[in-house]
Amino acid sequence: MLRKIRIALAVIFWLGITLLLLDFTGALHGWLGWMAKVQFLPAVLALNVAVIVGLVLLTLVFGRVYCSVICPLGVFQDGVAHLNVARKRRKKDRKPYGYSPEVKWLRYGVWALFVIALIAGVQALVALLAPYSAWGRIVQNLFQPVYLWVNNLFAALAERAGSYAFYEKEVWLRSLPTFIVAATTLVVVVILAWRNGRTYCNTICPVGTTLSFFSRFAMFRPVIDADKCKNCKVCEHNCKAACINIAEHKIDYSRCVDCFDCLEDCKFGALKYRYAWGRKEIPSPAAPVRNDNAPVTPGEAKESQGRRAFITGAALAVGTAALKAQEKKVDGGFAVILDKEVPVRDIPLTPPGSKSVKDFYRRCTACQLCVAECPNNVLRPSTDLKHFMQPEMSYERGYCRPECTRCSELCPTGAIRKINKEEKTQYHVGTARVNAELCVVEQGVECGNCARHCPAGAIRLVKDEATGYRRPVVNEERCIGCGACENLCPARPISAITVNGRHNHIEE
């Protein structure tokens, strides 16, 4: 029964978060946005005390149910592991797993590295290790394109039927390096889960390790009744966390993710999930686990690295080919329009709602939720090593429209604070500057499109004495950095008016 409840809740959470990451219409975040906000690392970065305390208490009472229910990457691994276990069962292999001791140096080493990275603000490393960030980039980079292609198929059908229920959404590769990292993450996680169940969660995942500090003392735990146990080891061989040691009748609660599989496996009623405080026979959490076997995981890690390199190359080739084919051709009857190129920005552009560039990058977990959601094709993962995979804005395909506050409504970490469209005008995320040499006025064409479309009224046209044409000038005080001018500038491939970021976006 407990197992069924766990599975049902896990499916709900997993579907909810995955759908949230796939959605591009903004229809779901009102319903599902909270699922991202109760994720552990986002809550820590948002200094969301209520959620942190709640999750710690949850773990202190029930153990690491977070890892089995709330964490989408954990649930995903369970799914992958289940497939392999089912396969093995068909082959009459009844021992898919076995007990292995904790790989302490790796587990606590990674955790220490993670904490240092978090404090030092090396967010790329944080994002690389954190489970929610990993799942976010996997979904946004690898699954969302498929979701969008299916949507576009429906959109084409809807168009034929004269319906407006579905509309087409451009599919484009936002950042190749992030795509490669996402593909690699997926491959590594799938391999680890397929072979050894919860290896990632119990040796690499910093959230899992953090929660393990509390789960050792959990009020309710699966407990082995040594009197009833017949030492058949069914539970041990089916424990994907490899934490049941039947030889000693002990369970490593730091690694147990409370999946409750073992409770149903035991035919003798020797395993019970029950109140466990104050019981003498419970092994001390500090007690060292026997470590006479050679550690398995590092070797595996090495092997998977070799594979990683190969798969990276393959994914790169396949990925780019598939995405290129989506680009639309220009109709012969029209003037050809060149694609815009990304201009040089000395300071990156981060979305309105972010207090400052520094604050934004300090809090962001690079979960790609905002990138997946951005309806104007403005947000994309940065390729700058300092902010690798964390989002930045650019205006080649659209601009940050005045009525849109979707990323701010979604961001689970508070990197983008929740704002409404009136508050949005208070954020000064960048400043436009004019490159007179590129302006079409230089070719003798009257234009003024930047001034015409500036929502802040920051651009004025002044008469150029030399040419007699009116060229744009920017009032830096009024400019909010939305990029309407840059996006709608007819100069291509580099706009004659471009937006540079600002360090601080709002005075408080």
Binding site: Y164, K328, G448, N449, H453, L488
Partner: protein
């Protein structure tokens, strides 16, 4: 969408309606039973030379295009089929130009028409020397037309779209380069049977052109004007002359008139729902488009009404209108005048989708944007206020259909107001201003500030 749907709606019901030659008294014709006499295309006699011209002419500017090897080319098979049907049903006037359909129209017309005896039809084509009016280029264009159309004479030859640019443009394109003298000689040699011009412009400009006729400097055998029940009295009158004025001036002088834009590029076939309902109340079995054609055919000085038929459906409907032709009564003319007044209240753009403005140097799909806007307005997919009951639904419909119709980079917000298009528009639409008006509307929709 457009005509076809309306024709489908009007359906098969029109079969039983009475047929009448144009000479019959209108009231009698309306009640005449179907079996009275053969159903034949109405012919109008050119009083100058006795040509018997079908009141419905085929305009060769809107033929269907297909994608072939990455190029947009005319669907010749469809054109052949339509031309065969047209000739079989009495249409004998075909109007083309070297400029139409990216320069492909004349050739396609030549292929389709040369499959029929040359004395079965009249060919009208034009000297479309807009971009290069040097004598060499103009004469080359004239000569090429013979080759393209596989003929050694033109029945009707037009100076293409005079008016915009005034008499100065006329002088530049036809007089200073000696083309008028050349064409007059060609007419004497019999290679041009009728010489005239097509007109888009202000009344003053028209007066000057017709003054050349009055003074005997040039003789206009016919004139082609834009006429329909809206432009009759509701052209803006300043940049574009009312058709009633042009008609009367030509009628006074006995000059035969050829009509273009009888449907305003299809806009008088796809009229707002309120107007369509009133038309259907009166003539439930006739298409909406038939009203516009009957309006033109009712005027006796009209020699031919050109319709740019894109496929068989409008062709069938128009043939039906002109074989069972029923001129409008005074009362019906008043009704159409009321409909025209009502139509003027809709904020549509007076674009006929002729594509003369294209290609826009900055890549904007000008006629596409206007067409989407006009269709949305006339079909009621056009939110007017946020308080409206189905505002959100209409908003989505408008924005989604806009993105479907026009690629993002070709939308109105990218118009930089360079003004390149202005001189090309025969309707004198202030294109950049209208694009900006539509974009402001779209911005209001997007920002919910309507």
């Amino acid at each position: 969408m457009e005509r076809r749907d309306f024709i489908k709606i009007s359906g098969a019901g029109a079969l039983a309606l009475g047929a009448a030659a144009v000479g019959c008294a209108p009231k009698k014709a309306a009640t005449a039973p179907a079996e009275e006499g053969p159903e034949e295309m109405v012919l109008r006699e050119n009083p100058v030379n006795g040509d018997k011209v079908s009141l419905l002419g085929f305009g060769c500017m809107r033929w269907p295009m297909v994608e072939k090897d990455g190029q947009r080319v005319i669907d010749q098979e469809a054109v052949n089929e339509m031309v065969d049907y047209a000739i079989e049903h009495g249409i004998n006037y075909f109007d083309t130009s070297p400029a139409y359909l990216m320069g492909q129209s004349e050739k396609a017309a030549g292929i389709a028409l040369s499959r029929h005896p040359r004395d079965k039809y009249y060919i009208a084509t034009k000297l479309s020397n807009f971009n290069n009016a040097t004598p060499e280029a103009s004469i080359q264009m004239y000569k090429d037309s013979f080759e393209q159309l596989k003929t050694d004479y033109f029945d009707y030859y037009l100076l293409h779209a005079i008016g915009s640019g005034g008499v100065a443009a006329f002088e530049q394109r036809y007089v200073q380069n000696g083309m008028m003298d050349f064409l007059v000689k060609e007419k004497e040699a019999g290679r041009i049977r009728n010489l005239g011009f097509s007109f888009h412009g202000a009344p003053g400009e028209f007066d000057e052109l017709i003054g050349l006729h009055d003074s005997g400097k040039y003789h206009w055998d016919f004139v082609q004007i834009e006429m329909n029940f809206v432009d009759w009295n509701h052209a803006d009158g300043r940049r574009n002359a009312n058709a009633s004025y042009l008609y009367e001036e030509l009628d006074k002088r006995g000059i035969p008139i050829v009509i273009m834009e009888p449907l305003l590029g299809g806009r008088l076939a796809n009229v707002p729902e309120a107007i369509a309902t009133q038309m259907k109340e009166r003539e439930p079995d006739k298409s909406i488009a038939s009203w516009a054609f009957r309006f033109c055919g009712t005027q006796p000085r009209v020699l031919c009404t050109l319709s740019g038929m894109t496929n068989m459906d409008p062709l069938l409907d128009n043939v039906k209108t002109f074989t069972h032709f029923k001129p409008l009564t005074e009362e019906e003319l008043d009704f159409l005048e009321r409909m025209a007044t009502q139509m003027m209240e809709y904020p549509t753009v007076n674009c006929t989708d002729c594509k003369y403005c294209m290609p826009c140097p900055w890549g904007i799909d000008i006629p596409g944007i206007f067409k989407h806007y006009n269709t949305s307005v006339t079909e009621g997919r056009y939110p007017q206020t946020q308080e409206q009951k189905d505002y959100q639904k209409l908003k989505k419909a408008y924005l989604v259909s806009y993105n479907r119709a026009i690629p993002t980079l070709r939308q109105a917000e990218h118009c930089i107001h360079c003004g390149e298009c202005l001189s090309h528009c025969p309707q004198s639409i202030p294109i950049p201003r209208e694009l900006q008006r539509i974009n402001r509307y779209i911005e209001k929709l997007k920002q919910d500030t309507l």
